[in-house]
């Protein structure tokens, strides 16, 4: 990734340096499956990577919620000894 010298736009006391941003973004790019696999990584903007990261985490949250519900229902309706054991483990 080409290292751009930070143009000194004094954007009102910015706390985060350009280098920090570039560093963070390039690492996040490696982490995100979509960007890593499909798009040409040079062309992806910092903003996009950050957006994708937030979206990805939100998606994971949603999956966890859906799965929680499904698991709740399964455990409530399954009437075997093993299910009873699992229920007691989860009801701490």
């Amino acid at each position: 990734m080409s290292s751009r010298r930070s143009r000194s736009r004094q954007s009102g006391g910015s706390r985060i340096s350009d280098d920090q941003i570039n560093d963070l973004v390039s690492k996040l790019q490696q982490l995100l499956p979509e960007i890593r696999n499909s798009r040409c990584s040079d062309k992806v903007s910092a903003s996009t990577v950050l957006q994708e990261t937030c979206n990805y985490i939100r998606n994971l949250h949603r999956e966890v919620d859906d799965l929680s519900e499904r698991l709740s229902e399964l455990l409530a309706t399954t009437d075997t000894a093993q299910a009873a054991v699992i229920r007691s483990l989860l009801l701490q």
């Binding site: 910092a46 957006q51 937030c54 990805y56 966890v64 229920r87 009801l91």
Partner: protein, 113 residues
């Protein structure tokens, strides 16, 4: 007994708590429309605002990933990566558990439990 069990399970949280306690804070506090608003607000202003837009998105990410608001940007990647890994692990474990419990039900029907 059926009702009591179902109510308790409606917050099936032991795996979630494991994730959250590792990262110190409930994600539900951070997962609001704040992030959406930040993105919309950031879409105004083009050129000079470009960096500000990026900064706002970084701040949004800090709110989503537990424990990041009090720390600097340098640690943000580590925390984000760890959090994503934890969520993925949690999903995997829950999926395994779900298919196991489904298997129990099928077994029971098959053998006339």
């Amino acid at each position: 007994m059926g009702n009591a069990v179902h109510e308790s399970l409606s917050s099936i949280n032991f795996l979630q708590r494991a994730v959250e306690s590792t990262h110190g804070r409930s994600r539900k506090q951070s997962m609001k429309s704040d992030m959406v608003n930040d993105v919309k607000t950031a879409s105004r202003e083009e050129e000079d605002g470009e960096k500000e837009e990026v900064e706002r998105k970084i701040e949004a990410l800090q709110r989503i990933v537990p424990g990041c608001e009090s720390r600097g940007v340098d640690e943000l990647f580590e925390e984000t990566a760890g959090y994503i890994m934890a969520l993925q692990g949690q999903l995997k474990a829950m999926k395994e558990l779900a298919s196991f419990v489904e298997g129990l039900e099928k077994e029971k029907r098959k053998f006339g439990g």
